[in-house]
């Protein structure tokens, strides 16, 4: 589904390279976790994949179902089924959740020659998604993320994911700032959305999230590269020993510079 090959990226207009040759392959039905310390480039990776204009790809390619999407705009990537759950969801006063989601849903439907939903049909559809994330009706009438608590913002990202039904989702530190109850609700929602036809890539700092959403693959990212991949035991090893130890071991084995 997704194949990232030797991806290098810089901040637009600057020389500092943040991604230094990322390779990643994600298939349908898989859940991946990318872990890494602050500044390792894991959030940047999710932004680059979703088409954030702040970054420029200088080398390598991002293939989505075989198509190179490196030059596509963010909305075109969304039309193909890409979704980014933001680490810091943006407050947009004056536009309700309902308005954004109807506009987004129908735009994506149009781009894929699917039928658009009229306001009444959309109402039924969106209501059916509310319990994925245990949301109340009135939530739809509120301005996007405006005045939301940290937990509500993260829940809203997963709710949007449920409504837009993407093929591939990047969840950028969706667990950060969540209390234990909110973490359970959010994880539960993600687990409900995950199926054999879609794929999820979680970006996280902590192993905690992985107790609730079981990944098939765990990758460790450091200094702009994925330096090690494995299964859940890799996350456990990280939790026990920390990133420093892993970095040293890899250096000894000559796997990292």
């Amino acid at each position: 589904m997704l194949e990232i090959k030797n991806l290098h990226a810089v901040v637009e207009g600057e020389d500092i390279e943040i991604l230094k040759g990322v390779n990643l392959k994600v298939n349908a039905g898989e859940i991946h976790a990318i872990m890494g310390p602050n500044g390792s480039g894991k959030s940047t990776l999710s932004k680059v994949v979703s088409g954030h204009p702040e970054y420029e790809v200088t080398e390598g390619e991002i293939l989505f179902n075989g198509e190179d999407i490196t030059e596509l705009d963010a909305d075109e990537r969304a039309h193909l089924g890409l979704f980014l759950a933001f680490q810091y969801p943006v407050e947009v006063p004056g536009i309700t959740n309902r308005t954004l989601l109807r506009e987004a849903y129908n735009t994506i439907a149009r781009a894929n020659d699917r039928e658009e939903l009229d306001p009444l049909e959309f109402e039924d559809y969106i209501e059916s998604k509310l319990d994925v994330i245990d949301m109340k009706d009135e939530f739809l009438n509120r301005s996007i993320n405006t005045g939301f608590s940290g937990g509500e913002k993260k829940k809203n990202e997963i709710f949007q994911m449920a409504v837009l039904n993407p093929v591939l989702s990047f969840l950028d530190e969706t667990d950060s700032g969540l209390d234990i109850d909110a973490l359970k609700v959010v994880s539960d929602g993600v687990n409900k959305i995950a199926n054999d036809e879609n794929a999820i890539v979680m970006i996280t700092h902590y192993q905690r999230l992985l107790n609730y959403i079981k990944p098939d693959f765990v990758h460790v990212m450091m200094d702009g590269k994925i330096i090690k991949s494995g299964d859940i035991s890799l996350a456990e090893e990280l939790e026990a020993n920390g990133y420093d130890k892993m970095e040293k071991e890899l250096a000894l084995n000559g796997e990292a510079q």
Binding site: P53, D73, D75, E91, L100, E103, Q160
Partner: protein
Amino acid sequence: MSEVIQKDTMLSYINGEIQSNANSVAIRAINVRGKDALENTPFPTRKDEDWRFIDLNAIKKNRFTSVSYANAAEVGDISKHYLPEALNTRLVFVNGIYNEELSSISDLPNHVIVGNMSEYGDHDAVKEHLGTITNYDDDAFAPFNDAAFEDAAFIYLPEETSVEAPIHILNLFTDAEKAFYATPRLLFVGEMYSKATIIEEHIGLANNVYLNVPVTEFRLFAGAHVHHARIQRDSKQAAHVSRPIAMIDRNAEYHSYTICLGAKLFRNDPRVIQNAEEVDFTVDGLVLIDGDQIADTHSIMDHRYAHGNSHQLHKVVVNDNAHSIFNGKIFVAKDAQKIDSFQENRNLLLSDDGKVNTKPQLEIFADDVRCSHGATIGHLNDEEVFYLHSRGLTEQKSRELLVYAFALESVESMEVESVEKLLLDEVIKYTTRD
């Protein structure tokens, strides 16, 4: 050689004599007063503090003639401008002249008057209040209206009467062969505990040059509650200089909302005078301009007595080469304690060439008050744009939606559904233009 020094006054930009044929003694007295003031009031220049930023060329490069000599076009079918909520509470003025045929007034509560002032020239409220609060010092425009107006909207509410339907004052401007001037006038007198909603509209039906100089006077007695929406959709070639003023008594509430969409040059000087303790008033504005439009608001919130609440939210969106100016004065007199006044001016710049000047001006002589103000000027937030963009909306659509959201807050205060709808359509038209 003798040198003739020609004084630059409002009259320098007017063709011919200003003539008013008003029948009413009260109106004629104001006409005379206006003429005297006009001749002695210099036309503003950039050297005047209140006119520093504004380019008045849209007025100065023209000579405006009386509409009777302008060969103005017929008004035609204007029914699309009627408000369904105000079908029987509508006064129509075409180029400043009352049009009885298009107006429709019926079903008003007893003793309420909504009509052309020339028919009510002898009414006590006209004699007592017309022209009494419009003292704009050294102003060339209010006297111009004083001098030239013949017809005027007159609204009178006796004690403890409420007019449920909004009262629609529809000022229309037609195409014409010559640039003309018009001086719409509105006098509202609300006795104790009266209540009404006034929708004052200015619509240019063509794309011609004219000068619109309206004066509105609102006199609210104790406990009167008035909602006053002013919607300016003049021709994009027109100049519009407004003098809306309100004086309000104890426990009165006056909430005004000015929406600026049209005119090449718009200058608006709203002023609210607190004439007793315990009042509540609003002086909101929404300005959506592009092309080479200029919109200048110089407002005064004049607190003369204690215990008053006032607020002002002035929102502006500027595109292309357009230029917005805002100067918000808050006056608090020495003994006017416990005033709570709030002013906010938010500007959204959509282009690199647009221009915004903003200045709060607080003159506070009381020591126990709460007065705050804030002004922001900014472009659309890139992160907000990307957030919507990443959800599948085009970048253009994302931007449109954000501008729409910015303007929405002001539109939602309209209280009259069809007016809200009309303004939303205007906002969409503004944000989605090619």
